[in-house]
């Protein structure tokens, strides 16, 4: 027995020895596996925002005067200021909570490129978006006219290739899956497309386009507005579109624009995503978008440049109240550590509705059901460009299997044709949980964990980036955008958007859709209403 066991034992010892060495090596290798790159963690200033909630501010220590005060320097506030400046109205002040204006459109910059922190593109505007077009002409983004249509600066139109989708292990052009579809998938995709084309072309009983941008120009045809009363998913069920491929594409779209799951979005908003765009441009650019390495900060800075002296940053507006015919605005100057009272004849509150309600509770009504979607944005600096099988790198790169919305490439729009490294702006709305719970998760999960999530997601899309990721800068948006849930766009609750002069509201919240055009429309509209109230002659841009 011993004789026969010997060779086995010898071989066994050898085998175990070899395995042991391999195992030790394996553990060592695992421990030394690529570290998650470091970077910054930032976001809308939580401390300043929360200080507003406590309401703990000193009494005014200084007084200033202005005809109009704009509280809030996001796109709506900047559009209001720009409209005033454009009309030759000079006596106004814009007070911004953060240390810079731009709101959701702010940007960052490192040694590789500028990059967006939030909003990063503007679709070529529709015919009805006159005010936006006027701005784009002034900013030299529209450079002229050809064949009666606006001609856009080719450097600012998104260059080809615009979009690619990682679908079944291969990158394809466009975001709608095209290969390996079942007959059911193809039929539903085609039928959905046709229905959206019909909605795009449809004119309501009042002669207005069914779905317009800004939405204020949309038809009030009751048949269309009724769509706001039901959920998008319920509406899709009614129409019998059940293809999982179509549904997962629609989920991507709803999260992309609204930060919500399709079952929460109102059917009107859901359809608006597909039927609202009728971009008007020469040289076939109507379906394109305008974009820049720094995203919509290009537009924000363009507007702010028209009235730099009227802007005060680091000012927490904490109280807005009527005083006779006029209005007083108290704001805490974080640099000087004192409260400044601004006495004005009119005020434009260009801020999210829940903040406007808090600082002017007597004038701003409660908006029941208005909730905000939290987002995480990560700017990932890489030493080489992502590649992949199939379609080459595009501006917008999306994976069909990811919970994120994919990434946009900051250097896609130049200024160089070819770069060694780049910055990838990665987006993820936290739409699975209820907003409050998601917001808590966003703030409480350690940044190291978030970075690992971003890195894993990116490497799943682009294994070729292994070892090329140099840094991950996180940006948390606790209240990134209003959620256009059922009834939010056209329902009764939106009466909360109305105020009495001399107080005017201006924010994309008032549309329910967080789009540049909506914020810009409300800013422009509020500025014109304020000028009308004060009797300042101007030509309307709307």
């Amino acid at each position: 027995m011993k004789a026969r066991a010997d060779p086995v034992r010898r071989a066994l010892i050898g085998g175990i020895g070899a395995t042991g060495i391999a195992a030790v090596g394996g553990i060592g290798w695992t421990l030394s596996s690529p570290m998650v790159p470091s970077g910054s963690m930032d976001g809308a200033d939580v401390a300043r925002g929360h200080r507003l909630r406590s309401g703990d501010f000193p009494a005014p220590a200084a007084i200033e005067e202005a005809e109009i005060v704009i509280a809030g320097g996001g796109i709506a506030g900047l559009a209001a200021g720009w409209t005033l400046a454009e009309a030759g109205f000079r006596d106004f002040r814009l007070l911004e909570l953060e240390d810079g204006t731009g709101g959701n459109a702010r940007s960052g910059r490192n040694d590789v490129s500028a990059f967006p922190l939030g909003a990063h593109y503007l679709p070529v505007p529709n015919r009805e978006a006159r005010a936006v077009r006027h701005l784009l002409r002034r900013l030299d983004i529209i450079t002229g006219e050809r064949d009666g249509a606006p001609l856009y600066d080719p450097y600012q139109l998104c260059a080809d290739l615009q979009e690619r989708l990682l679908w079944r292990g291969r990158w394809q052009e466009g975001l709608v899956p095209r290969s390996g579809l079942s007959a059911r998938d193809s039929a539903d995709l085609a039928s959905f497309d046709r229905a959206m084309a019909e909605f795009t072309a449809r004119v309501g009983s009042d002669g207005r386009p069914a779905f317009a941008i800004p939405i204020a120009y949309s038809s009030h045809d009751p048949e269309l507005l009724a769509l706001d009363g039901i959920g998008f998913t319920a509406w899709l069920d009614q129409r019998g579109w059940t293809s999982p491929v179509l549904r997962s594409h629609l989920r991507y779209c709803m999260r992309d624009d609204y930060g919500c799951e399709p079952q929460h979005v109102s059917a009107w908003a859901g359809i608006h995503y597909f039927a609202g765009r009728r971009g008007w441009a020469a040289e076939g650019a109507g379906e394109n978008v305008l974009t820049w390495p720094e995203g919509n900060d290009r537009l924000a800075r363009g507007m702010a440049a028209a009235f730099p002296d009227a802007i005060s940053t680091d000012r927490i507006v904490h109280r807005v109240a009527r005083d006779g015919d006029g209005i007083v605005v108290d704001s805490f100057d974080t640099a000087a550590g004192r409260t400044v009272r601004t006495i004005a004849r009119a005020a434009i509150l260009a801020m999210p509705h829940f903040i406007a309600r808090r600082i002017a509770p007597e004038d701003v009504r409660r908006w029941d059901g208005l909730e905000y979607a939290p987002w995480l944005v990560a700017n990932v600096t890489v030493d080489r460009l992502p590649t992949g099988r199939g379609a080459p790198l595009a501006w917008d790169n999306v994976s069909s299997t990811s919970e994120s919305l994919g990434y946009v490439v900051a250097t896609h729009q130049g200024p160089a044709a070819r770069t060694a490294g780049t910055v990838l702006t990665w987006y993820m709305p936290l739409s699975r949980q209820a907003p409050a719970e998601a917001r808590r998760l966003l703030l409480e999960r350690p940044e190291e964990e978030w970075r690992r999530i971003v890195l894993d997601d990116l490497l799943a899309m682009n294994p070729d980036l292994e070892g090329a990721v140099r840094g991950i800068d996180l940006w948390r948006w606790g209240h990134a955008m209003a959620r256009p849930t059922t009834g939010m766009v056209w329902g009764e609750a939106r009466r909360a958007a109305e105020t009495e002069p001399p107080l005017f509201l201006a924010h994309s919240d008032l549309s329910g859709l967080s789009l540049f055009e909506e914020a810009h429309y409300h800013g422009t509209r509020a500025a014109e209403a304020a000028m009308r109230h004060l009797g300042h002659a101007h030509e309307t841009l709307l």
């Binding site: 004789a3 391999a22 160089a416 044709a417 070819r418 294994p463």
Partner: protein, 512 residues
């Protein structure tokens, strides 16, 4: 087959038995390493690692099944067959990585080669384990044999799967790993032959084992050179220089007096006929400018266009804008390359700027009497930007009054629509054009387009010492036969990149 143990189940038998069991371990390890090599090379060459790993592992296991099934037909002398099978595995498996690397550029159906190798190894490994069990059964309890052989088989698999990513690929590389395990395979077979009692009968196997071992050791020794051949095979000629920069892969090949430059695998010039290309690129443009003093070259980091520009005596300054510092450095320092471009990059009149042409042109101020645009073909979207209307508007702005630009414009014979798209785009940018072409053997029929702010002279001054272009020949280049004649083509814009799509389509069709 009873020789191993049955004759005398005593202590003497332990050495061969141990060798047999050790060989089960080695065979299992080697089998899995070959399988991992095939999967990794397949993902490396064909992409999509999930598909490659699944299909390779699947077909490998399937082939093992066939091998096991076939083992039932082995009725005589299992031991001899076992040794032969092991030697065959050593040879095929050991050479598999090298073979796959070298075959890839040469064969049209790489997958056929890949799966043949995978199936062959799988079949042989599948045949081997049952044989081993049968051999050992004679001296051992069957219960013990099955348990021992399978244990070593699986432990071997674990060893392989850990060693492969941790040590083998990073430190040895794939070709060398293949040979190393082939050597282990053949070594165990040889040891077995030495230990086994039937030495005389197995002489043929012993000689074969030594030969195979010698082949594999030689292969192991020249693995590095093979890795280089694998790249050379893609380039047809020996690679004399290769460098990966952040922007591109620069490869120089040389065979006799023929020096070739490849950027990302695309031929940029062959020293045998580059003079045809560069004379035709430069002189029709410069010869149409009354007094070309300030010349701009966009691209052309090899300095060959600059060499031609310097033949014009009045030239006072050349500005050369090339993306990649590695390119211009290489062509200003290497003796063999500076003799080719006559030291043009270090000429006192030369200013080399390493910048992105697209960005540089947009930001540049100043005027140039001649602009030579010598970019690589529009094979991708970033190169495509350098052929857009937007870019040509910047070029137009940089042209001095009476100045002429020339654009290398791919082959009007192979890609006529692409060629005429460039022409259409130059016109859309407001330039007057004169298209022409020349024959460059290593490229084929090649196209160029002159562009200026208004009509250009009919005649051009051509330097006397040109080897290809003469004053008599030059006018003929402007005639286009019907197969290259102008045809409808779109304007290439940044937001449609029509040229990149047309170019890929036409060259794809031409190359099949």
């Amino acid at each position: 087959m009873a020789e191993v143990a049955a004759a005398n189940p005593s202590r003497r038998m332990s050495a061969p038995a141990a060798a047999l069991i050790a060989s089960a371990f080695v065979v299992a390890t080697c089998g899995l390493v070959y399988e991992l090599l095939a999967s990794t090379i397949a993902s490396y060459m064909l992409g999509d690692s999930v598909t490659q790993f699944s299909t390779v592992i699947g077909s490998y296991l399937f082939a093992m099944g066939i091998g096991s099934w076939c083992s039932r037909y082995v009725r005589r002398d299992a031991l001899r067959l076992f040794v032969r099978v092991e030697l065959l595995i050593a040879l095929i498996g050991g050479c598999s990585a090298a073979a796959l690397f070298l075959l890839f550029p040469m064969v049209d159906h790489f997958r056929v080669a890949l799966y043949s190798i995978v199936l062959a190894i799988g079949f042989l490994v599948g045949l081997e384990i049952p044989l081993l069990m049968r051999i050992l059964r004679e001296g051992f309890d069957f219960r013990e044999v099955v348990s021992t052989v399978l244990t070593f088989d699986y432990v071997g698999a674990l060893a392989a799967s850990l060693l492969f990513p941790l040590l083998l690929v990073p430190y040895l590389g794939m070709i060398r790993t293949g040979f190393l395990f082939g050597i282990a395979n053949a070594g165990v077979a040889l040891a077995l032959l030495m230990i086994l009692p039937r030495r005389a009968e197995l002489r043929l196997e012993k000689v074969t084992a030594m030969l195979i071992l010698a082949v594999l050791i030689a292969g192991f020794a020249v693995s590095d050179r093979m890795q280089r051949w694998a790249e050379t095979a893609g380039y047809e000629e020996p690679v004399v220089y290769a460098e990966s920069t952040p922007f591109q892969r620069i490869v120089l090949t040389r065979s006799g007096n023929d020096l070739r430059l490849f950027l990302n695998g695309n031929l940029q010039f062959s020293s045998r006929d580059e003079y045809r290309y560069h004379e035709a690129l430069v002189h029709p443009a410069l010869g149409r400018v009354a007094e070309p003093r300030d010349v701009l070259i966009l691209g052309g980091g090899d300095g060959l266009a600059a060499r031609e520009v310097l033949k014009h005596p009045g030239v006072e300054s050349i500005t050369l804008v090339d993306l990649d510092p590695a390119m211009t450095k290489l062509f200003s320092r290497s003796a063999i390359l500076t003799s080719l471009n006559a030291g043009a990059l270090t000429d006192p009149r030369m200013t080399v700027i390493n910048a992105d042409g697209f960005r540089w042109a947009r930001e540049a101020r100043g005027e140039y009497d001649a602009i030579v645009i010598d970019f690589p073909d529009p094979v991708d979207f970033s190169l495509g930007k350098l052929y857009t209307e937007t870019f040509y508007r910047e070029v137009k702005r940089l042209l001095a009054p009476g100045g002429v630009a020339v654009v290398q414009s791919t082959s009007p014979l192979v890609a006529p629509t692409a060629y005429w798209t460039i022409a259409e785009t130059l016109e859309a940018a407001g330039l007057t054009i004169r298209p022409y072409h020349a024959y460059v053997p290593s490229f084929g029929e090649w196209g160029y387009i002159l562009a200026a702010n208004g009509p250009m002279p009919d005649k051009a001054r051509i330097p006397d010492d040109d080897r290809f272009l003469t004053a008599e020949i030059a006018p003929r280049l402007f005639d286009f036969p019907p197969d290259m004649a102008r045809r409808p083509a779109p304007v290439n814009r940044l937001d449609n990149q029509a040229l990149v799509r047309i170019f890929a389509d036409e060259w794809g069709r031409y190359e099949g």
